[in-house]
Amino acid sequence: MKSRDWLRSHGRALVIVVPALWLGIFFLMPFLNVLKISLAEQVIAQPPYSPLFYFSESGDWHFKVSLDNYRDLFNDDLYIAAFLNSTRIAFISAVICLLIGYPMAYGIMRTTPSWRNPLLMLVALPFWTSFLLRVYAWIGILNNTGILNNALLACGFIDRPLVIMKTEVAIYIGIVYSYLPFVVLPVYSTLEKMDTTLLEAAADLGARPFAAFLKITLPLSWPGILAGFSLVFIPALGEFVIPDLLGGSDTLMLGHVLWDEFFANRAWPIASAVAIVMLLMVLGLLVLQNKVNRPPPQA
């Protein structure tokens, strides 16, 4: 009985401690570490940053925090441009995704029930194939000598190839293409949960279909819209592969800046500061989403 009791109480603790410890060490601690490094100074050493605590030669404790990296971030045009670019591109991409994805989810919901699941599966399927290769496919399509231009030239719509590759348009296409499922699925799931008798009630009370959509369906699918938006906006904010492969060198985005600072310039403290600022933006968005999504208090 005693050993069983021990196992019972500690078995429960074990189930909690194992994943908690893993996440603590490999998820929480890294961010604290990044925060620490972002407050350090760049030095030429291995690793290339100054310690926050150290013993001076006289044996005293020293504690040194520097906000220089953050000051640099907000004073350097390069970083500011990267922040603005990233936010703009992520925002516009998310909106385009919604404009395409919402009607798509709505359309799927309105097909015959036996079609819904196969169609949803078709939406999710590309997600299971390599992201990198799907982005790569667009190079072949959008290139000056690519499939799109070849087709358009052959049909005689244009007489010179359209320059899409290495522009912002290519980035939008890449992001929208890659993240479209992330809008369709949450929107669909809120639409599906919606009580269809609400629409019948609206129709019964004299609302035409479009009015019913605007007044009933759209407000009720707001949580799905918001979830879809942040599921595109957040990863797009730090996107590296798509702007790197499809975008031009003039469109700097945060992910790229962070990558370059870290790998090319070995500027760990400033890269960490970029990461922290991005993190704050993400957290802010999540808190906002949480607030909006909280169901109204039940009467």
């Binding site: 019972r8 908690a20 990044v34 992910g255």
Partner: protein
Amino acid sequence: MNTRRSPPMTLWLWICFAFLYFPILSLIIYSFNVSKLVTVWAGFSTQSYATLWKNRQILEAALLSVQIGLATATLAVVFGTLLALCLTRLGRFRGRSLLGGLASAPLVMPEVITGLSLLLLFVSLEKTFGWPKRGALTIVIAHTTFAMAYVAVIVQSRLSAMSVALEEAAQDLGAHPPAVFFQITLPLIAPALVAGWLLAFTLSLDDLVIASFVSGPGASTLPMVIYSKVRLGLSPEVNALASLLILLVALGVTVVGLLLGQKSRDHRVVPGVEVKKVDGRLDDDRRPPIG
């Protein structure tokens, strides 16, 4: 009213699915191109597959990626399931909401941040403890950390769809908590574990950014090799590789879909019984065990 199909809606669906599938299709078609120029069609050939087969670098990277994926998926399923159990079945404990936050954070974290922070941690750890050496091991750790969050989400949704009464009934009939887990909970969440494993494997196989950060010299995963090739421009070998991967995924998804579809039909969580509503509310004063 709710299943009326309008022509514009159908057309829109066709356009969207064409948008989703055209690039994938183009990859496959042009993998059979004779021309090295990839996008200019010059005739049918399987040349690029032969070249791919001889490319040792790609094959080795693929092997490494699969190994990392297997390790990651297995670890992620174990940790993710534990995490899901913590969050759905263990009631209140200190730090529960923190753990809940930590569990969902990897889902939304931009990859560059996860990659950078993990690398910096590994550097610090290596400097202090001499461990872990950067390479396949650190990639597995990093992948497990974010993949377990996905697994936890899938398992959690399965667990919350499964009535707690089943586990209580097993306990009531004399089963100790481990017996309840292995005889009742595990068989019933098995489909979610399979799905979670596959998802974790795919995520690991697919990841470029985090692996690039935390990998060390000599450990190049498949996406890293593809990326270095793609940066230099289009390559028929990559098309061939992509076609093979797509074929594999399509096969896998079909098989698993059929398997799970069949399973879920005779493993409905509450078998055909609906708890009748009493006075418009479910049950009387029963509350969820957490709360």
